[in-house]
């Protein structure tokens, strides 16, 4: 009833839908960087949509399954094998007891999700199993996996049939350059009149010191109208905050709950998944859209996910 970690990979963490409800106490949300691929993986194996799964980053793990389990790997494209036999992605696969699952070469995207039937059954912290790496909260002992860890699994779940094939809401994996849509604000008025145009004028490069907390971006400088400091306030997921340097920081899953820099624009929820597949060195472009487009994109994504979950 467990998974044994032979090799942990570069940064493999237990994630669920996030630790919502405690930001007023300073507790970061965490959760998957690519929430769509995360949810798809759970849907394919028949888990609840917020069941905990593994987020695999850039260099994947090698795992041994102690008992029979259905699994699915979604998100970034890796060469994945079970006992040296290739495994299709975005597909329900049943492993026999003692199987060895190995992530090989990464082809595209940055983060893959491995959902296991029954979920990873680590103890919840403040109602969530998501790992927040920096504060050491949640997940497996509050940290990324290490060799020798044994991950407990939840009870197996009955599934009517295995969804597969076309029509799956597979996140369009960016090559080394992604376009994401933003809505202006919440503090656009704290910027120079041309700042929103500057944001869209050419791509930003994701800097090396980027992580699950946020992407530090290098590109067109965004000028403030006045002081680059504000009275600290809440920092939403996907917001672009801009410190004095004029180089924006895109806040991601592990962001702090509050911050003291003006926020020029916010990535729409439907495009967070694409952003979550980027990594240091990749390029990201921003394009302003309307609230109507943002919601339409989200509804389309939700319908596709619900089709898989409804099976």
């Amino acid at each position: 009833m467990a998974i044994v970690v032979v090799k942990p990979g570069m940064l493999t963490t237990v994630q669920d839908a996030g630790r919502w409800g405690f930001q007023s106490r300073g507790v970061p949300v965490a959760g998957p960087m690519d929430p769509v691929s995360f949810r798809l993986a759970n849907a394919i194996v028949g888990n609840r949509r917020d069941a905990s799964a593994l987020e695999v980053t850039l260099l994947g793990p090698e795992l041994i399954f102690e008992d029979v389990r259905a699994i699915a790997v979604t998100g970034a494209e890796f060469d994945v094998t079970i006992d040296d036999v290739d495994v299709p992605l975005n597909t329900r696969v049943t492993l026999s007891a003692g199987s060895r699952l190995r992530f090989g070469r990464r082809q595209r995207g940055a983060r893959a999700y491995l959902a296991v039937e029954g979920g990873i059954s680590v103890p919840p912290r403040l109602g969530s199993r998501a790992t927040h790496v920096i504060s050491g909260m949640g997940g497996f002992e509050g940290r990324p996996l290490r060799s020798g860890d044994t991950l407990p699994l939840g009870a197996r779940v009955p599934v009517a049939r295995a969804p597969a094939g076309p029509g799956l809401p597979v996140v369009p994996l960016p090559g080394a350059h992604a376009l994401v849509r933003v809505l202006p604000g919440p503090q656009l008025e704290l910027f120079a009149p041309d700042a929103l145009d500057a944001l869209q004028s050419s791509p930003y490069t994701i800097a090396q010191n980027s992580d699950r907390m946020g992407f530090r971006l290098e590109g067109p400088r965004l000028k403030h109208a006045g002081s680059p400091d504000i009275i600290s306030d809440a920092t939403p997921l996907g917001v672009l905050q801009v410190p004095a340097s004029g180089q924006p920081i895109l806040l991601m899953a592990d962001r702090q709950t509050t911050g003291g820099y003006p926020k020029i624009a916010t990535v729409i929820t439907a495009d967070l998944a694409i952003a979550g597949q980027l990594v240091a060195g990749d390029k990201i472009s921003f394009q302003v859209c309307t609230p109507r487009e943002a919601i339409a994109a989200l509804i389309a994504q939700e319908r596709a996910l619900q089709r898989v979950e409804g099976l």
């Binding site: 600290s232 997921l237 509050t258």
Partner: protein, 228 residues
């Protein structure tokens, strides 16, 4: 009753109500009252309500939320927030062992104040502080207002590691580090209490709007608290 607020969307899944842009107990009390009202309403789709110094962020699932209804409600509730910070709660009393290894910056703060270490302690314990906001890390309460004389600005270069329980000053703010983190605040002492403990029945010692008083203890008392 107050009209001095605005409601601004932050993307498609959050909306922020901003009150006046100043650090002020009355403005802060408004934000906290609004946050409490929204939280208590248990609205469908709302995932998190976060009061800060002068604003409230409401996070929601746009596919499960009546957005126009939420906006209307925020308009009404924000207008009905109090014009005073009269809702004073019974102070939370926090013991602090000042100076020595626990307060490596206490001497510098005394120099800054043009007084003695005892002057600093007397001024720090002499005020009742308001928790304006909890943020940064789980359970970190931003408290004010520190007496001007000891309101020393933070370090230019933060310490790489600040021990749990460290009590610091950053300008007119004071706070207690709930976890070992980097930090630039001037450290004047340490409390044996844990501002955050996930295994405790009530994990958080403080929440926004609380009143806090510090009182001095010696090293022997500190060790006693720790072992009890």
């Amino acid at each position: 009753m107050s009209e001095t607020f605005r409601i601004v969307p932050a993307g498609d899944s959050a909306v922020v109500v901003e009150f006046e842009a100043r650090i002020d107990p009355v403005v802060n009390a408004r934000a906290i009252a609004l946050a409490d009202a929204v939280q208590n309403a248990n609205l469908a789709g709302v995932r998190d309500v976060v009061p800060t110094y002068r604003s409230v962020a409401i996070y929601f699932d746009p596919l499960r939320t009546d957005y126009n209804g939420l906006l209307k409600r925020l308009q009404v509730d924000a207008r009905q927030t109090p014009d005073s910070a009269a809702d004073v709660r019974e102070p939370i009393r926090i013991p602090v062992c000042y100076g020595g290894d626990f307060g490596p910056d206490l001497d510098d703060v005394a120099t800054f104040a043009g007084g003695t270490v005892d002057d600093v302690i007397r001024l720090h314990v002499g005020a009742t502080y308001r928790v304006f906001m909890v943020g940064f890390v789980a359970g970190f309460a931003y408290m004010g207002t520190v007496a001007e004389r000891i309101a020393m600005p933070r370090h230019g270069t933060p310490r790489v590691r600040v021990p749990v329980g460290s009590v610091g000053i950053a300008g007119v703010q004071t706070g207690v580090y709930p976890a070992e983190t980097p930090g630039g605040w001037r450290l004047i002492g340490r409390t044996p209490l844990k501002p955050f403990d996930a295994d405790r029945n009530e994990p958080f010692l403080m929440r926004a709007g609380d009143s806090v008083q510090f009182f001095p203890i010696n090293r022997t008392e500190y060790d006693g608290w720790r072992s009890s």
